[in-house]
């Protein structure tokens, strides 16, 4: 049987570790903090494996349906007899799958950082922040209450902010951290309003009750669908606003601008937060509320689908032009999350229609593996070359054999080449799209091909292309560069993740994680897979011919599509549009009048009160002359005045 205490320990171990490091460890045993953090995460991981095993194979399934279990729940803040913010743990297939992913990737990143961050000045602080992040993320996925998820949502945002700004002596890192925080905060405002709308109409904050009330024909459902505002029902508003919150965290267009900049943080952090776990929180959120989206408001789900597919395509195009390898990976992440989003968007609830939901979760799972691997591999390369730019790299395959092989595996996985993990999940997604929406299907297949192209562009630029970069070969002479590929602690996670990227596709996901908890048998059509795989292979071939050896073809290509290239290279000027809107429109039209109002009216009132007081004080200060007899005259006349008042006038 599941033990509540053990489950609670999963998120609590990292936070204990954080508190210990922050209060004591930072000063007392800074060198040991990394080990401490890694051990605590290892504990969490082992516990999650135990919990997952028990859930999936022993207690979770009743009559062939996975149940939602709530092992822990206590009331925290009560607003009214019905509405309260609870703290609890909700176990269902997606949350169990998520704790596995989070603890596993976090463990890999912890181990990797032992080598990568060694010798950093704030080594202990780094591990403290990682612990905080892991705690928040686990709390997020285990939340049983929509407000609880919001609290952890913000905590995740804070830890992300802290880790992006980890190198706070670099102005660019500080700016990136601020940008990430503000953009996601802005989206979270939508989330909060969405929560309030849903809670107002359904009269509860608890997930289970909320979903029950808003999917079955009840008074609450009638109320929320009949209330309308600006032509949309309140339910639609609530769900779209919640999705905006999710889109902010998951870097969906147009709230994606923070993600590429967030790569200023240490690379393992990018792997953990900005590739594998935190950015999929938006997907998780939509999946958590999926029954409401699917059963009560399919039009909100359409919004999710179109935003998802557009972001996916948009990011893929930008990724082709970027030269900073981490930015390429960031846009690729955005593109893949778009995949998950539109997979949810095209899905229905229950049975055969739930294919998209299952595929989305499956892709989330496999993506976490190979994207973490890509980032960690990129981290190893950056660690080796001391640069993020593609032009500084090339020909590294001999120098970094382990990184090379694992990176290739990850690239094949993301490109969707069988039998790597990405192939299976991507096929499911494409199938779901094919069944419901042909337009989305076409765009998705094209995006898959572009994905294959830019990933292999990255791969060939790093490991092939030039024989040896001048910087590296020059370094050989003075014995500067050729430290080895990396420590064991850095290579081990690469190998483990590489192996998992190979086999993760064979997990029988349809049996475990589905929209309604029932088993979903997926058929595998060989014929269906031919087109996407061939397109992906074409993308790889294109990248091969362009970037295998240094040649002029990429430049010719750029010249022929100069305009598109320039736009894509500048990320379609989304940042500039934001700047224009904020600086020119908001600052000038709203900010300045507000500032004027504040300075002149609000402050003016206060200043006027102060001035009047001061003037009055100056004019009457002579009353306080320090002369005793004057005081006694005042006193005496006061007494006479009161005598007159009370005896003659007050009768």
């Amino acid at each position: 049987m599941l033990s509540a205490g053990l489950i609670a320990l999963i998120p609590l171990l990292p936070i204990f570790c954080f508190v210990l490091i922050a209060l004591v460890g930072k000063h007392a045993f800074p060198k040991f903090c990394g080990m401490l953090g890694t051990l605590s995460i290892l504990g969490s991981f082992v516990l999650s494996v135990v919990v997952a095993f028990q859930y999936f194979f022993q207690v979770g399934k009743v009559n062939g349906v996975y149940q939602q279990l709530i092992p822990i729940k206590f009331e925290w803040l009560q607003f009214s007899p019905n509405v309260s913010i609870d703290m609890g743990i909700l176990l269902d297939p997606i949350s169990v799958m998520m704790i596995l992913v989070v603890t596993f990737i976090s463990l890999m990143v912890h181990i990797y950082s032992l080598g990568y961050m060694k010798g950093e000045e704030r080594y202990a602080t780094y591990y403290g922040f990682l612990g905080l992040f892991t705690f928040s993320m686990l709390g997020l996925v285990l939340s049983s209450n929509i407000f609880q998820i919001y609290i952890f949502w913000e905590l995740v945002g804070v830890s992300s902010y802290l880790l992006i700004g980890f190198y706070f002596d670099r102005p660019s890192a500080v700016a990136a951290a601020k940008k990430a925080f503000i953009v996601t905060r802005f989206a979270d405002l939508g989330f909060l309003i969405g929560i309030l709308i849903l809670a107002f109409y359904s009269g509860t904050l608890d997930f289970q009750t909320l979903i029950t009330r808003l999917t079955t024909p009840t008074d609450q459902l009638n109320a929320i669908t009949s209330a309308s505002f600006m032509g949309m029902s309140a339910l639609m508003w609530g769900l779209v606003l919640v999705f905006i919150g999710g889109a902010g965290k998951s870097a969906m267009f147009p709230l994606h601008i923070w993600l590429p900049d967030a790569m200023e943080g240490p690379t393992p952090v990018s792997a953990l937060i900005h590739a594998a776990t935190m950015v999929v929180a938006g997907v998780f959120l939509v999946a958590r509320l999926f029954p409401i989206y699917s059963l009560s408001c399919p039009s909100a789900l359409d919004v999710v689908a179109y935003v998802g597919i557009f972001s996916s395509f948009f990011a893929a195009i930008i990724a082709c032009t970027q030269t900073d390898i981490k930015r390429v990976l960031a846009y690729s992440t955005m593109s893949q999350i778009g995949y998950m989003m539109f997979a949810l968007g095209v899905s229905g609830y229950g049975g055969e229609h739930g294919l998209g939901y299952m595929a989305s979760m499956f892709h989330l799972f496999t993506h976490a593996m190979f994207k973490a691997l890509l980032f960690l591999g990129a981290g190893a390369v950056i660690h080796y070359v001391h640069s993020n730019e593609m032009k500084d790299m090339g020909g590294l395959r001999k120098l970094m054999p382990v990184t090379h092989i694992t990176f290739l595996v990850a690239c094949l996985a993301i490109a969707g080449i069988p039998p790597f993990a990405g192939f299976f999940s991507k096929e499911e997604i494409l199938q779901a799209a094919f069944q419901s929406n042909k337009l989305i299907y076409v765009v998705a297949v094209v995006t898959a091909a572009i994905t294959a192209f830019y990933m292999f562009r990255l791969y060939f630029s790093i490991f092939w292309n030039k024989s040896l970069t001048p910087a590296l070969s020059k370094g050989e002479g003075d014995g500067h560069v050729h430290h080895s590929e990396g420590t064991v602690s850095m290579l081990m996670p690469l190998v483990i993740l590489g192996a998992l990227s190979l086999i993760a596709g064979f997990v029988p996901f349809g049996k475990l994680v589905t929209s309604d908890g029932k088993e979903l048998l997926t058929e595998f059509h060989i014929g269906f897979s031919v087109a996407p795989v061939l397109l992906a292979a074409a993308g790889i071939w294109l990248a091969y011919s362009f970037y295998k050896k240094e040649n002029a073809r990429p430049q010719n290509m750029v010249d022929s599509m100069k305009r598109l290239y320039k736009n894509a290279y500048n990320k379609f000027y989304v940042d500039e549009i934001y700047l224009f809107i904020t600086k020119k429109v908001i600052f000038n039209l709203i900010g300045r009048p507000a500032a004027w109002f504040d300075r002149n009216v609000v402050d003016g009132t206060m200043n006027m009160i102060a001035t009047i007081t001061e003037k009055t004080s100056y004019s009457i200060k002579a009353l306080q002359s320090g002369k005793l007899q004057q005081y006694s005259i005042y006193f005496f006349s006061g007494v006479i005045g009161f005598v007159l008042l009370f005896i003659y006038l007050w009768k």
Binding site: A622, G626, K627
Partner: protein, 103 residues
């Protein structure tokens, strides 16, 4: 026509306002202290008179007088100590000169 309460009250009230007048007009601190003594004494006369004419079955007015005299003695002693100290510092016992505590 005997001497009644009203006669004595007239004396005490007149003495009280004489004291007040002195307190308001005098600038020398010692004479102000004298005015205060006059005021206190007028109160004492009042207590005794009321005790005598209205509450002759009790001695309370008398006790109040005794305590007022005691406190007046203490007050005079402290006041004179303060005056002497002020004189030492300001070389003056004019109340107008001791206005350090103004605004």
């Amino acid at each position: 026509m005997g001497i009644g309460l009203l006669h004595i009250l007239f004396v005490s009230i007149a003495l009280f306002f004489i004291g007040v007048y002195g307190f308001l007009t005098r600038r020398n601190m010692i004479t102000m202290l004298m005015s205060i003594e006059l005021i206190l004494n007028s109160i004492n006369i009042n207590f005794i008179a009321f005790n005598k004419f209205l509450y002759s079955d009790k001695l309370d007015g008398l006790f109040f007088t005794v305590f007022i005299i005691t406190i007046a003695a203490a007050e005079a002693a402290v006041a004179i100590a303060i005056i002497i100290n002020l004189y030492r510092n300001y070389k003056s016992i004019d109340i107008e000169d001791a206005d350090t505590m103004k605004y």
